[in-house]
């Protein structure tokens, strides 16, 4: 069915409207749900799933159709909406947003499939679909005003999802979440208006909220740009959240219903980090550079602090929530390393965090459904009764810890390696987070799954059923695939990151992105065929058992000239 749909999608010329469809399909679905009868929850659920799944398929079609080498915005759609204010329905996707869009497309149907609401399913699914539409809007908007509208719109469904379908302290958590993020966005709105008005004054043209125009033609003074950046940054920092603005997160995560937690982790926590890349760095390159040291420090603090606090949590869901603080610290760190590896790693990590933390929340949700508790102290010896769940938990946990071969490592490594190139000591300290991650997750795992069951409920704990296993399998396939072969993802992300960095370099005179300048050595051994390094080494070996540095350098040069010829041959061979 999927293949057929994709084929029909590919055949139809309607790709121009793909992005609009991504936003409007779930929104329309929400409307349809409003008109349906609440007496038939099963039907409501099916319709909701179909709509979300359709959106997911559209996002996959987007992935398939995406031109991977093109770093610019693709599938751009641009309609004027309010002409006098230069506001338009402008959507576009590039490597930075592509995978977040796909994640949004895929996570929602899974969340709908995985979790049944305890009551009032009609409004529940309605809010979920609205949330999907709004999240798509945030990632696709190329117009500041539209972005703001969607950014705010996301809050409403989430507020109700937490407040109405959440656990114990849900009202408090929902209100805190709402007010906290609202506070940030209000300041961002002010910054946005200042930016738009001042740009219009400086350029003398028409007023516009268009992202690309603003980025390219913006002529704010350095001081003003920094101030406006701060306004944006505050909103994003709360949304990420960055230490010390993070305390809404554990409350919201813990009290949200399982589907809410999955969406929170998978999609909504990315709104802030995405905002930093798309609006922070892109609109205010100089200011971002100016503020980078602070964000690097806060990123490192977030990694270590989040891990330490996670270690001491007694509630499993809260522990996972604090692990998010640590993971997002990595993303902030990579974003502000301001080089290819760092930013690419940050985007990769956004996707990875969505997968691994999303899966962790699902698992915690499954445990809660069975045991009606999330307290670690009340859970023990579950592995005996539920080996499949334990296996799934282990894989997801190792991904979250950052074991190579699974997805978490790729992002983490790129971020740390990029940061090391730019600001080495931050990376050295941040890398300590890998020790702590192992500590808190393995400790929690040991207490929950290992040992012997101390109560009848734990002894009779039910293992995964078919549906749950299937859903987790989707996550695990993603986790393993992106860990073993992240190339397709990275290849689609990197050109856009390159463009972003080029933009930053172009907009600030003195700046070149801190990259390792690769010498000839890299070329030497690298892409060309497999025989040359051997020859180079042979040269080195032949040049003397205990060769001094000078001799070796000479040998190296000799080898280089030799290899240049081979390299050229190698490339032609490759082209054939």
């Amino acid at each position: 069915m999927l293949a057929a749909l994709l084929a029909s999608a590919a055949a139809s010329p309607s790709f121009d409207y793909l992005l609009t469809a991504l936003v409007l399909v779930p929104a329309a679905g929400a409307l349809v749900l409003c008109l349906m009868s609440a007496q038939r929850p099963e039907l409501v659920r099916q319709v909701a799933f179909l709509v979300a799944a359709l959106t997911g398929l559209l996002s996959i079609a987007l992935l398939v159709k995406f031109q991977q080498a093109d770093g610019d915005f693709q599938f751009v759609q641009s309609w004027t909406w309010i002409k006098d204010y230069g506001i338009g329905w402008k959507l576009g996707v590039d490597g930075i947003s592509l995978f977040l869009v796909v994640l949004t497309g895929v996570l929602f149907p899974i969340a709908i499939l995985a979790v049944l609401p305890e009551h009032d399913s009609k409004p529940y699914y309605g809010w979920l679909l609205l949330l999907q539409a709004a999240s798509m809007g945030v990632f696709l908007a190329l117009d500041l005003f539209m972005f703001f509208v969607f950014f705010e719109l996301v809050l409403v469904p989430m507020y109700f999802l937490i407040g109405k379908w959440g656990h114990g302290n849900r009202t408090y958590a929902a209100l805190k979440f709402f007010l906290y993020t609202m506070f940030g966005s209000a300041i961002m709105l002010v910054g946005m208006v200042v930016l738009v008005v001042l740009t219009q004054r400086a350029t003398g043209g028409a007023i516009t909220f268009d992202l690309r125009t603003l980025a390219n033609e913006q002529a704010l003074s350095t001081q003003t740009a920094r101030a406006v950046f701060c306004a944006f940054a505050l909103a994003f920092a709360i949304k990420v959240p960055i230490f010390p603005l993070h305390t809404w997160l554990p409350d919201a995560h813990t009290e949200a219903p399982t589907a809410g937690s999955v969406i929170l982790a998978g999609v909504m926590l990315k709104l802030g980090t995405y905002g930093f890349l798309r609006f922070g760095l892109y609109l205010f390159p100089e200011a971002a550079r100016w503020a980078a040291p602070m964000f690097l420090i806060l990123g490192v603090v977030g990694i270590l602090y989040g891990s330490v606090v996670a270690t001491m949590q007694k509630d499993l869901k809260r522990l996972v929530a604090y692990s998010s603080v640590a993971h997002l610290g990595f993303i902030v760190l990579g974003s502000f390393a301001l080089n290819r590896q760092g930013i690419t790693g940050a985007i990769v990590q956004m996707v990875n965090h969505g997968l691994s933390t999303g899966a962790l929340f699902l698992l915690v949700g499954m445990i809660y459904e069975r045991r009606h508790t999330r307290m670690i102290a009340e859970l023990n010896g579950l592995q005996k009764a539920a080996p499949l769940m334990a296996a799934a938990f282990t894989v997801v946990m190792l991904s979250s810890i950052g074991v190579p071969g699974l997805n978490g490592f790729v992002g983490e490594f790129l971020i740390l390696n990029g940061t090391f190139t730019a600001h080495r000591w931050y990376a050295v300290v941040a890398a300590l987070g890998v020790i702590l991650a192992a500590l808190y997750l393995l400790w929690a795992y040991q207490r929950t799954f290992h040992g012997t069951a101390q109560s009848v409920e734990n002894e009779r704990f039910k293992d995964l059923n078919f549906r749950e296993g299937g859903i987790l399998a989707v996550f695990i396939v993603g986790i393993v695939f992106l860990g073993v072969y992240p190339k397709p993802m990275i290849d689609r992300i990197e050109p856009s990151v390159g463009r972003l960095i080029a933009h930053i370099e172009q907009k600030s005179d003195t700046f070149t992105a801190p990259e390792v300048q690769s010498g000839t050595e890299v070329e030497l051994s690298g892409k060309a065929g497999s025989k040359e390094p051997g020859k180079v080494l042979a040269v080195v070996i032949l040049s003397g058992k205990k060769a001094g540095a000078e001799e070796l350098t000479a040998a190296l040069e000799a080898a280089e000239t030799q290899a240049d010829g081979h390299g050229a041959e190698g490339h032609t061979e490759e082209e054939k």
């Binding site: 740390l416 890398a431 080195v540 190296l556």
Partner: protein, 812 residues
């Protein structure tokens, strides 16, 4: 043939995937055979590739195979690619070879385990990871294997996860290793930053041009990683605990292969090590030497058969790092290979003993097992002679070469190495003598059981004392009763006497004349009936009086008797009491004695051999039933499938020395073979032949001294064992405890404080702001009262102020 290299890791990977898919259905023992076949296939491919490599001239023995790009961003790029050279193939051959044998062994060892197929699934994943580690053509792929083996080690240590200690040991291994991984990661970043690539081929070329400070940093960071994985000071603490895993795991992962990954890494990166300041390799050599000595001292006092081997492994790994620090890379690899043979052998043989002893691991319960487990014993003894450094066994050649390097480079380290060799010979001999010789001790009680027996005996003597006490009380009561009876009898007696006196007096008052007169009166009144009656009455009265007197007399006699009896009763009761008293005193004394004995004997943690002491012999009857049960439970030799790997490994432990024989350059097979991989960075041994012979003689003499000393103590029972097996050594110098108390104490407190800070300060601030806003708006709300008069007042005040302002402006 070299193109086949990808198959080497692919085989166990396929095995792993198959076992994930159908492992449970295959079950015991098919899953084991599948896994073994996959690893054996991998070994077969490795031999083929090896043959292909040998066929090349030595300077061309280098081959790269790139499968696909793994991570590539900007200038940074790593492939999933394999590097085939003498070093990696040496590692691959012994890893796959030994792994095949251990897989085979495990089929029998794990028989009947409910997670049988899962065990082999982990084992195959481990072999895959280990092969990626040594075959990877760049640091990151090695890191993938590095973490992969770490994860498998975690799974397998906590394999029997229902025991809390096993689970903790697994977690400890993973977290401790992560400390080392931090070093690995930072070293990788630094290598990329300075070299511009993390491929070994590039690193090797660029290494000599690195600044010394950079090279030192990279080398030492990698050494931090090696300290974790290869269990060196101060990160060794996880390895002894890792013995919680099944014994095949201890043999494969925690002795033969994974723990040597650090050695491989250092040798692979040796050009960087050569480019660093001279103190960097020296540091490595010293850490290695000190670890070797430190762990050897601990091994002396361990009683768990696997713990001895674990500390021995730590100690032997110390030798390897000493060799690396001294520039002897080829000897390090040589000893890695021989160690893999004899240590895997020792672990598997130990596993066979444990299997035969029904999961008993305490050597104090073994003894004389060579009679019952002959094959195991012979193979174990070969392993023992190899590790002790007795020629011509493998360990002698490889250890001797390291010592020769130490002699050439650093005499102090040589001395440390020699002392370690002495200790090694000693503790390994101790292990052999305790396990296979001496007398059967598997029925001997443990310290715990002895303590329980003492408790039982104490309780029993306590019961006797209690009984004595109660009999004293009863006797005392009886005495009181008897005494009261006497006084009663006395009063009866007194009453009888006084009554008799009265009667006698009355009787005495009647004279015979009165009787005669009365008789005469009867006779006289014969005619007159009335007078006769009166006279007869008088007569009767008189007779009665006489009778009364008589009665009184007999009553006195009776009372006398009763009195005498009562008095006798008192005497009896008194004697009973004194007897009971004596018994009570005796039992109290007995109890005190037992308490003393118990107190004197109980703190001893030693095993039942002490039951021969006269004080303790009478405890025997109080020993728990398990002891008796054990005594009838005889050890048995393991099945053939376990013995076959033992025999094959024993052949290796016997002959692996031939890989690298001294004196003749051509016989330095391994060193010559490895030479292309080391890029001429290793130090060469320049000690003359005679010197080597002298050094070897010293080493052999040292080994013999160690063996003889152990024989004296453990076979001939000369000298005090307890003075050798100090408790501080048994506790591993208290390092583990110190770590634990730090982690559980200040470390935990700091974590808790941070969590509390988050809750109270940061979240508190947020909630505080919220409260402030709510309260101030509550105050502000009061201004909006709805009363027109207050608004009017506001307006007029404002108007006045405005007016005043305007006027003052106008005035200016």
């Amino acid at each position: 043939m070299l193109d086949l290299v990808w198959l080497i890791p692919a085989c166990p990977l396929v095995g792993f995937l198959l076992l994930v898919a159908v492992g449970r259905r295959l079950g015991d023992p098919l899953a084991g055979y599948l896994a073994t076949a996959m690893v054996a296939a991998s070994f077969g491919v490795a031999v083929t590739v090896f043959a292909g490599l040998v066929a090349l001239p030595s300077e061309q023995r280098f081959f790269l195979q790139q499968l696909f790009t793994w991570i590539s961003v900007g200038n940074f790029g790593v492939d999933v690619g394999f590097l085939v050279d003498p070093l990696s193939m040496t590692m691959v051959l012994f890893i796959t070879g030994i792994a095949t044998l251990i897989h085979l062994y495990a089929i029998a060892y794990m028989k009947g385990d409910e997670k049988f197929s899962k065990f082999f699934l982990y084992l195959n994943l481990f072999v895959f990871s280990m092969l990626m580690l040594v075959l990877g053509d760049n640091l990151l792929l090695t890191f993938l294997g590095w973490e992969g083996v770490g994860a498998c080690s975690y799974f397998l240590i906590s394999f029997w996860f229902t025991e809390e200690t096993n689970a903790s040991a697994g977690k400890k291994a993973f977290v401790t290793n992560r400390v080392g991984d931090w070093g690995f990661m930072v070293a990788t970043f630094l290598t990329f930053f300075t070299v511009g690539s993390i491929r070994y081929a590039d690193i090797v070329v660029k290494a000599p041009t690195l600044a010394a400070v950079t090279a030192t940093a990279i080398a030492l960071l990698l050494f931090v990683a090696a300290c974790g994985k290869s269990a060196q000071l101060p990160l060794y603490v996880w390895l002894p605990d890792a013995m919680a895993g099944p014994t095949p795991v201890s043999a494969l992962i925690h002795a033969a292969t994974m723990v040597t990954a650090g050695v491989y890494l250092m040798v692979r990166m040796s050009p960087v090590l050569e480019a660093s300041y001279t103190w960097a390799p020296q540091t490595i050599a010293w850490v290695g030497g000190l670890t070797a000595l430190f762990a050897a001292t601990i091994a002396i006092a361990q009683n768990d058969i696997k713990k001895v081997l674990a500390y021995s492994t730590v100690s032997q790994l110390g030798y390897l790092f000493m060799a690396i620090g001294l520039g002897g890379y080829a000897p390090a690899i040589f000893h890695t290979v021989t160690h893999a043979f004899f240590k895997a052998l020792l672990f598997l043989a130990a596993g066979s003993v444990i299997h035969g002893m029904h999961h008993e691991q305490d050597m104090r319960r073994f003894g004389k097992l060579y009679k019952l487990l002959p094959v195991t014993a012979v193979t174990f003894i070969i392993g023992w002679l190899a590790i002790a450094g007795v020629p011509p066994f493998a360990g002698f050649w490889s250890k001797d070469e390291i010592l020769a390097y130490a002699w050439q480079e650093n005499k102090a380290l040589w001395a440390i190495g020699l002392v370690t060799a002495l200790l090694t010979a000693f503790y390994m001999s101790r292990q052999v003598f305790l396990t296979f010789f001496g007398r059967y001790r598997f029925g001997d009680p443990s310290a715990q059981e002895l303590n329980a027996a003492w408790d039982a005996k104490l309780a029993a003597s306590g019961v006797t004392a209690d009984e004595a006490g109660s009999s004293v009380a009863a006797a005392t009561e009886a005495l009181v009763l008897a005494r009261s009876k006497v006084s009663e009898a006395e009063s009866v007696h007194a009453a009888a006497v006084s009554a008799a006196g009265e009667a006698q007096a009355k009787a005495d008052a009647v004279s015979p004349a009165d009787v005669e007169a009365a008789t005469a009166a009867v006779l006289a009144a014969g005619a007159d009936p009335a007078a006769k009656k009166a006279a007869e009455r008088v007569l009767k009265d008189l007779e009665k009086l006489a009778k009364d007197a008589e009665k009184a007399t007999t009553a006195i006699a009776k009372a006398d008797d009763a009195l005498a009896a009562a008095r006798q009763g008192v005497l009896d009761a008194e004697s009973t009491l004194s007897a009971a008293d004596a018994a009570a005193v005796a039992s109290r004394e007995g109890m005190a004695e037992v308490t003393c004995l118990a107190a004197a004997n109980r703190p001893r943690s030693s095993f039942g051999a002490l039951l021969s002491a006269p004080d303790e012999r009478d405890v025997v009857e109080f020993l728990p039933h398990e002891v008796e049960h054990r005594r009838h439970h005889h050890p048995h030799e393991s099945p053939l499938m376990m013995l076959l790997p033992l025999v094959l490994l024993a052949i290796g432990a016997l002959g692996a020395g031939a890989l690298n024989l001294p004196f003749v350059h051509r016989l330095h097979l391994l060193e010559n073979w490895l030479e292309p991989s080391l890029f001429g960075s290793e130090t060469h041994l320049e000690v003359p032949g005679a010197g080597l012979v002298a050094l070897a003689a010293v080493a052999v003499a040292t080994a013999l001294v160690g063996i003889l000393a152990a024989a004296a103590v453990y076979l001939k029972a000369k000298g005090d064992r307890e003075r050798i097996e100090q408790p501080i050594l048994a506790k591993g110098w208290g390092v583990d405890e110190a770590y634990a108390s730090f982690m559980g104490g200040p470390g935990r407190k700091a974590f808790e404080l941070t969590a509390r800070f988050d809750q109270v300060c940061i979240d508190g601030a947020v909630n505080g702001v919220a409260t402030l806003v709510r309260q101030s708006s509550a105050q502000l709300r009061k201004t909006q009262s709805g009363y027109i008069r207050s608004y009017a007042l506001g307006i007029s005040v404002g108007a006045v102020l405005l007016l005043g302002l305007l006027l003052s402006k106008a005035a200016l």
